[in-house]
Amino acid sequence: MPEGSSVTTGEILDNRMVARDHFLMRVFLPLSFARPLPGQFVMVRDCRLSGPLLARPLSVFGFQRRPDHSVMELLYRVAGRGTSLFSRMKPGEGLCVLGPLGRGFSIHADVKRIVVVAGGVGIAPLSFLVDEGYRQSPSLEKRELRVYLGAGTEELLTCRERLSGVCDLRICTDDGSLGYRGPVTGLLGEELHEFAAEDTAIYACGPTAMIRELGRLLRNSPLRCEVSLEERMACGVGACLGCAVAVQNAAGRREYRRVCHDGPVFDLREMIFNGS
């Protein structure tokens, strides 16, 4: 378990729709809640236990420390029963938060060029990476930051304001309603030749199909790429072995890692994709 993880009762400060099916929740937390690293996540549930049995994993999207408390931001898409219940929670209600959990993104000192590839709500951990890892540290100001942000259609896009101005933002929509017409991996593929392995790091999060396509794109490329994965979780702390993902270990053999504990961030090169 990561340092300083705990079970905490947070209080919802606000919870509003920011795009079709997408909500931004701000949660008041005591200072005892440890500062999360970009890429880490929390397991959350309605404190009243009236919803689904299991907590749901959500990436930390933002985190601000105040003199006497902290505020955590969560960006989520309504995908099913749990998230739909979250979307109906009101300010003042209690949110049970387990975390911060997992292994976040590696932040490299030698990197000049940061390339972020986000599909849909996959922007959540990446936006926090931009915030914490790169934007807020002044010594890193001169880095180039490019963000490929994709969604099905314009209405589903989030974080445009947050990101524009702080990075070179390239928007892609499947239907071409804004920016490049096609998946993020399409535009990335066209522009991949601009990046050199020595000074570039790629960070990605998004639907499985996107991660798989990224794997294909970078198969023969020396570019380093870290991906944040999603898998159904029960415990979030490495105990249930429910969130297995197949990787190739150092000896080249297939084995299962726990997304919650060994990830959620993995080196793209370790991944074994389904059907292969």
Partner: protein, 320 residues
């Protein structure tokens, strides 16, 4: 709901229970496969306060486990098909047990084999190790192709594996039973006769769930084991049946989320209980359950848990 009513100056009730030769400071254990090897829950839970930790099922050789997806939530429950992924008994002893030994808690090794001989050999290896307090024989895991449930479904097979392990070890021996049978009491009797010091039940009920959009099973393994509050009524019924069939202690498992749930099992006659899925939902569940049992005993003026165990009155002459 259990209210904490402080009775100053009164001694806390005695929660000690014994399973075979094993004396536990309280009847609350963690269920195998739901508490890792203990480490994972250290930030949330004081291991020193637990009656026992039952570790994830151990086999002779490491096991890869099943492909994902391995879990899916169901109404008041979850299905899992982890497939007994584990580091193997030897790596457990060298890499995991030393950590647990730092705590003042009984460690129960849950073991599993594909053949009687494998069970025997795992039991042998563990019996030679310091820091293992009891064995729990998993003859009931539904998520593996060979072994497991095959032993648990027939009394003769259950007795055979029990007798073989019994011959191999002096450790207290608990046999964990599967609920996927017509008559669980019959299996319990068979393993009692074969030398078990206790039985624990239930393991998961076999279940399934379908993704209607993709028209595929939600689990790569197709079926999985159902756990959580959904199965509590079935577990409680089986515990009650087995309590009336055998003389050895019965450990109740299945859907225990709160002290109230644990009390149902104890009142029905379970000597101890295990908490499984609840650990995922509230990592401090075991702590709250221990406190809740203690408060209940105090509130009801019961000085020791022995007075509670099996106190169910199934023939109330004058109900409500």
């Amino acid at each position: 709901m259990i209210m904490k009513k402080e009775t100053p100056g009164q001694n806390p009730p005695d929660l000690t229970v014994a399973i075979g030769g094993l004396v536990l400071k309280n009847p609350v254990m963690t269920a195998s496969g739901t508490f890792g090897y203990g480490e994972e829950y250290v930030p949330y839970c004081d291991l020193n306060r637990l009656g026992a930790v039952v570790v994830k099922g151990l086999s002779l050789e490491p096991r890869l486990g099943n492909p994902p997806p391995r879990i899916i939530e169901t109404p008041s429950g979850m299905l899992n098909a982890v497939g007994l992924q584990n580091v193997g008994v030897r790596a457990f002893l060298s890499e995991k047990l030393p950590f647990l030994r730092r705590y003042d808690v009984a460690v129960i090794a849950n073991i599993f084999g594909e053949t009687v001989d494998q069970y025997r050999r795992v039991a042998h290896i563990l019996s030679g190790a310091a820091g293992i307090h009891a064995l729990e024989l998993n003859i009931s895991c539904p998520n593996v192709k060979k072994g497991g449930v095959a032993f648990g479904a027939r009394p003769e097979a259950a007795a055979e594996v029990t007798a073989n392990v019994r011959a191999e070890t002096d450790l207290p021996l608990i046999v964990k039973l599967t609920p996927n049978v017509a008559d669980i009491a019959e299996i319990a009797l068979a393993v009692e006769e074969a030398g078990a010091d206790g039985v624990s039940l239930i393991n998961t009920l076999t279940g399934m769930s379908v993704d209607i959009e993709k028209r595929i099973p939600h689990l790569a393994n197709v079926t999985g084991g159902l756990s959580g509050p959904a199965i509590k009524p079935v577990a409680l019924r089986m515990v009650w049946q087995v309590v009336h069939a055998v003389k050895i202690p019965v450990i109740g498992i299945g859907g225990i989320m709160t002290a109230a749930d644990a009390l149902e099992f104890l009142i029905a006659g379970a000597r101890a209980i295990q908490v499984g899925t609840a650990n995922f939902v509230r990592p401090s569940a075991t702590m709250e359950i221990i406190d809740g049992i203690s408060d209940y005993l105090t509130r009801h003026g019961l000085g020791s848990i022995d007075k509670l165990i099996g106190s169910l009155n199934t023939n109330p002459s004058n109900g409500d």
